[in-house]
Symmetry: C2
Subunit: 257 residues, 2 copies
């Protein structure tokens, strides 16, 4: 019987700037007496990666530009946070009361460029990690060295879905596991017809892990997924999940490209 | 340690019209020697619910209207399928080459009104279940009676996410488990600040189960989620996940409301 287990790793310490994410993950796994098996996937909340990489910014250091003030007026957002959104983005896709939709410099669309006030000190905000794929790959290599097995790492975050009333865990960075699982030409439906379905595999892994990470107070930033079947890959990148052409066409419609 | 397990139930038979979904689920669980425990969640692929409810339509019986032909010309979709989309929807939100975005009669936004050619006989398509919450509730009551414990049921389906390159399992119907998990006023972040985060809980459960349901050929429409902590509710509805105001405002922008 095909069974997958999700294990929340307890007691991950509060992360400080310049901590090594790999060391933190390793220590937490050891303290929890969890050793990784072949093809286990470690899912890490992006917040602790951001913190370790010093991506927590004090708002008092930010001077908003005229453009940031304009967008802040329409959206009702703090102009300093809007200034950071602009710096973190390739483009601003939509501004409405209460929402700024951005094309993040990493290539995907998200609200507020992923900038977040939760679980950081008052007066500061966290930015997304500098390069989540690279951060995931670093942790992966450390874990593979330590445990002597092939494992994967996914970095997840909470994102909104258009027309839906809350947030869901989606993938932000991947290493060792496909971001997108493509139906290949051998893939057929139960009536033996060819199908070309692509599954947002890393997003589904991220959503699953988010179930255990839970609400903000839970403070569980680390979940191990065991038993999931997938093709090991060295080539996976988070941008495999992104339809750039759709983003470009929407930007072109606004005269931004 | 907080642990959740996902079990794919094998050998679910091909479902025929007028089968009882509850009986099918029960038989599959018994054949797999799986008995449900308190707060287990049974996730069912919407496709088998549609089939059991006779929601598989032969395209030869459909005559497209003028409006359906118009939308078919722009989108490149089969005019008969577009006719069904119109019948299944409150409104058509966007039409572009390759995509028709609909407001489904059940209240949420999805492409092609959830109409799908996969895993049904050639020349037919499946529509979404008539009332997925009700279908979920029926199965739930049967399972609770049979196993003598409180369990929940989620019906899931594959949906696209805007700007993302594939599909993800999201919730279509719920019974016994919150669709949306609201951060209540006691909920605080790790710095003890109040947070009002709402989590698309049934969507995360659906995505997790979809990992095991896998590609179309896998044909695993039934997954049991064990060990997940959640508040039991009798009041959950799939529309808890939907931001109707956002849909209404987008429709109003098009002069459709």
């Amino acid at each position: 019987m095909y069974q997958v287990s999700l294990t929340a790793i307890p007691n991950v310490p509060l992360v400080q700037s310049r901590d090594s994410v790999g060391d933190i993950v390793m220590t937490a796994l050891q303290d929890a007496n969890v050793s990784l098996k072949e093809q286990d996937i470690v899912v890490i909340a992006s917040k602790i990666v951001s913190k370790a990489e010093g991506r927590v910014i004090s708002l008092s250091t930010i001077t908003p530009s005229d453009r940031a003030r304009e967008i802040a007026t329409i959206s009702g957002k703090d102009p300093r946070i809007v200034e950071l959104m602009i710096q973190e983005s390739k483009a601003i896709l939509r501004v409405k009361p209460g929402v700024v939709v951005t094309v993040h410099r990493l290539g995907f669309v998200c609200t507020s460029a992923g900038i977040d006030r939760a679980n950081v000190e008052e007066g500061t905000v966290s930015l997304l990690p500098q390069n989540p794929d690279e951060s995931a790959a670093k942790v992966r290599h450390l874990l593979m060295e330590k445990f002597g097995v092939n494992v994967a790492v996914v970095i997840n975050d909470s994102f909104g879905i258009e027309y839906r009333a809350g947030s869901i865990g989606l993938a932000l960075g991947v290493a060792g596991v496909p971001a997108l699982l493509k139906g290949n030409s051998d893939e057929k439906d139960i009536y033996d017809r060819k199908r070309n379905v692509s599954i947002l595999f890393a997003d589904e892994i991220s959503a699953a892990a988010s179930l255990l990470m839970g609400q903000s107070s839970a403070g569980i930033p680390l979940v191990v997924v065991s038993g999931l079947q997938y093709p090991v890959t060295e080539e996976s990148r988070i941008t495999d999940l992104v339809v750039s052409s759709q983003i470009d066409s929407d930007l072109a419609e606004q005269g931004q490209s």
